[in-house]
Symmetry: C2
Subunit: 438 residues, 2 copies
Amino acid sequence: MTTIRSMRVLDVRFPTSAALDGSDAMNPDPDYSAAYVIVRTDAGDGLEGHGFAFTIGRGTEIEVAAIDSVAALVVGLELEEVLADLGGFWRRLVSDSQLRWLGPEKGVIHMATAAVVNAVWDLHAKREGKPLWRLLTEMTPQELVALVDFRYLSDALTPDEALDLLEARAGGRAARTDAVLAGGIPAYTTSPGWLGYSDEKLRRLIREALEDGFRHIKLKVGADVDEDVRRCGIAREEMGPAIPLLVDANQAWDVPTAIDWMRRLEPFGITWIEEPTSPDDVLGHAAVARALHPIGVATGEHCHNRVMFKQLMQAGAIAYCQIDACRLGGVNEVVAVLLLAAKFGIPVCPHAGGVGLCELVQHLAAFDYVAVGASWENRIVEYVDHLHEHFVDPCIVEDGRYRAPTAPGYSAEMRPESRTEHAFPRGGVWVAEAGAAR
Amino acid sequence: MTTIRSMRVLDVRFPTSAALDGSDAMNPDPDYSAAYVIVRTDAGDGLEGHGFAFTIGRGTEIEVAAIDSVAALVVGLELEEVLADLGGFWRRLVSDSQLRWLGPEKGVIHMATAAVVNAVWDLHAKREGKPLWRLLTEMTPQELVALVDFRYLSDALTPDEALDLLEARAGGRAARTDAVLAGGIPAYTTSPGWLGYSDEKLRRLIREALEDGFRHIKLKVGADVDEDVRRCGIAREEMGPAIPLLVDANQAWDVPTAIDWMRRLEPFGITWIEEPTSPDDVLGHAAVARALHPIGVATGEHCHNRVMFKQLMQAGAIAYCQIDACRLGGVNEVVAVLLLAAKFGIPVCPHAGGVGLCELVQHLAAFDYVAVGASWENRIVEYVDHLHEHFVDPCIVEDGRYRAPTAPGYSAEMRPESRTEHAFPRGGVWVAEAGAAR
């Protein structure tokens, strides 16, 4: 038997605010960061599991404290027992009778669960010598259903329905696996559209995105409606009429404002409006969706658990489901949401960017395509060209598509020198920042 | 000018799990705790503001880290500027562009906001020499509206509507203030109904509660339906048919289970079912409410912000609004929810118990009665007879009613010796526990 011997937690931050990368209506100055965890065992095989919560600077220290507390439930467990019942493992973590008061299943504590759960999945996939998506697509429908905590879901999806759905799509898995390996995963890019960029930079980045093979462009909106009209006009000039234009308000609006503002942008042919209002407002998203149809409402990067996604789907509030690999409670809860989306016929378009999110979601999208959603129709995965160089197995995007990852694991592992250099506050990058500020 | 000089954060825990006080379907072994904060200024007047997040043991250390991080935004501010614009102060804390990623406005980070905000309100009331509820009831409708962050609320309640509502009820404030001072605040007790208690203890505690003047009894349910039927029967034997019986499932059920289970308890004449399912499930609560009418659905102790309460009200999901003084973002957000409840005509019955929650909510209920809800109809405040002895200004409940608090402040201050003795892990109580466990 193998014992989980330690979970080391790190505070890793990148000084991205200096360049206005990632600036939007709600996040003017993010320092993309990770509360990072490394699982080690006594197996002597040299394998480690890596996971993280994506954060944006201040507060990473809170997430580090939370991961430490969740990790305390895991250190000392027998790894084989954990891996034999990953559904039970997940349920045990989110059900801790004292920690759950801090959520339940939301925010800091749930992101800590995700980091720990994902690190264990990374280790699992490395031990099996497979990329995570292959590990998942080779599980039987029964094994996949057993990963999911159906508590609070049964009014929308029962285990039997999930099983039927997976079995009905099992026959096509081999062909779809081949298709992913050959053709990759469709992507779209947010890189051109950050609010802090000049018009010249916007135009140049859109042209580059199109040359790079992307067939969707996303702009941040929500700070000033006249500016947004102007920038959408610039984007359409560069894009032409055929390329889908996505806009993202990052929760800037109340429901009536969302509707009024988007009426101004409607003439530019908008495919989706992302995060029009509070991520908690299921009924608000539904009202926006009804008013703006056929513009689709997209949300999910702040959707904190499967119960919220269930309602967004039940209420007809979203046309696109934007799961986040680190805000949902890790792989297990992502599988739950993929199943819900398949039941409701809603395409899943994962949120990415930040630190390492692209690396993670490529696995989730590939698994969804092969085993659950079983289609690329209306499905695209976000891609932002930031910080990939810090990962051991960085995602590779070519001609507008992620190449299917092939290295064993969840592609979550940050390079040791990057972890050291960006350790907060004592890594070399931060010591230099402090010196420059002086 | 006065400067906020420090915010000291403490981890205070009570070993309540030893006695099964507070045991319910989800929380079998809570150690009632507080992540506690003390605001000090350079005024030289000896006044401190006290606030806390209520927690239940493990994880208090995470909340302590979060309060430290939120406090860092506050130390160094000029107190008079803060107090002159408490609405702006609240908005600034929840809008921190990096910390908000950890919520937004939910869970650990929002409870930290609450602790800091409530500590500032405690200090404000002490400086004014008034109990918090008097400070609030003496504010003009305009001043009260200015406390509220209406972001994400305007589809349900606008500032103008809130102003109209407060002005319409301003005329009766003086008479209602006299009524609160003379007659107190109606309470109900949860003390008899914890799941861990024996039948004998249940009977005895119900009899004692009725003798003590309580006119509602609440039982915990949700672990075993036959047991619940039996315990409701015992309760009715002791209570007779006239006293309202409340039951609380603490999120134990899925929606279909909630409906089936409650049909078994219907014959016992249930007034409300509290927390039938996930606190995030607005649509689920609405389905339960439709199915079980006229049994009312009550929820709120895990309802994380005003946007969730807004939806519970919009959807017709709750008949009773159970605000929590420490989970909502402090006094400001409580005022927002009281206004929403008044708009929707839903009675507010605050959640209490734990550590210090009774001390806080008596102020909120008194303020609601005097200035917002303006009625006691269907309004009762939870009371649990635990841990009050640790507070400097403990609530006083006599003949089934809280006596209106009169000491300056928010009654949030824990006795210094209690803080020292229960400091975790080095206070005397915990050193003794560790010794006994050895």
